[in-house]
Subunit: 184 residues, 2 copies
Amino acid sequence: MSAPARRARRHDPGRRDRLVDTALDVVAEQGVTAATHRAIARAADVPLGSLTYHFASLTELLAAAFTRHVDTVAERFDERMRAAPDRAAALQALAEHLTDDLLGSSRDLVLAVELYVAAARDPALREVTQDWMSRSRRSLERHLDPITAREVDALVEGLVLHSALSTDPMTAAQIHSALTRLAG
Amino acid sequence: MSAPARRARRHDPGRRDRLVDTALDVVAEQGVTAATHRAIARAADVPLGSLTYHFASLTELLAAAFTRHVDTVAERFDERMRAAPDRAAALQALAEHLTDDLLGSSRDLVLAVELYVAAARDPALREVTQDWMSRSRRSLERHLDPITAREVDALVEGLVLHSALSTDPMTAAQIHSALTRLAG
DNA sequence: CGGTCATAGGAACAACCGTACACAACGATT
DNA sequence: AATCGTTGTGTACGGTTGTTCCTATGACCG
């Protein structure tokens, strides 16, 4: 009998960080309702007690995970907006951001919807969505007036949800056409 | 000691219907994650076993509830579209439908988002959202070309989600302006 | 009027959950 | 080397869940 995958991992610095990443993976792969202490612990290969040691509650862990995700996506998007020289280029970049980053990778699409789900239920997570929406709008306002930015933001949100729930998602061309029609 | 709310309700025809309505109430008031067998049974004042007798699973009950709700909202909306004489009137009616029926009544707004949530998690419920989206689009196509109808549909979905999660929702005027800008 | 069967009722079960907590093991500081 | 405080671990608890199952009831039909 060989030892069953001995885990001799006392002193694991950066475990907290790794737990946040693993939590995000579990949410992306199995949905936020399946993201339990035990599921995350299993995925990260750490004992159950480790989660409550590093995070006061499950909500706190999920909030940290979603915050990290929103940070990276928002930063990536703002980079695109900063790089765009004018309004037309910004719309083009937005369309690319949507098709590449959101609709292209099913992971980011799933995470976006799961965040909606989690936020609808948990007030603590609603802060994260608020932050996400305001950052997204601020990025758009680099090239659009505030009113248009808000409308575009809503349209984008609808496109994401639409893509997640519909069987035949819109094509990149259709998305670009819709955006220019609204804000072109 | 008075009898503790005696329940002498043997033979209760239409109970199945009443359960569907009650389930919808529970979802609207406490969210879909709180819509458990026990919560619905308590709200309908029926024993727990009655739920599994009338519905093979909780999902089946929720699907019936959401289907009923979608039916009434879709019918109400199509009525508005049928009544509109031209495209401009249709957009106006759509804006009114949004502000009155969806954003005005918090109940319908909550139910819409809860349906998104439930559908994101449960494939069986995704059929209901598909049905909802296709009916909504068909109503729009009474006055809009298919492409525009689809874009408007996505925008509407985004506006709903936006209103549900944001702290300062858009006004009726802003909504109407966004719609005419996209489809006017 | 008696039998039958769909409906009503309530208790029980097994699975799972978040969290608490007591204890073990280590690093750093004396 | 002894101590102390931080970090890691495993188990247990109390509660909730969906679902099953057995029994009781009463409306309908012959």
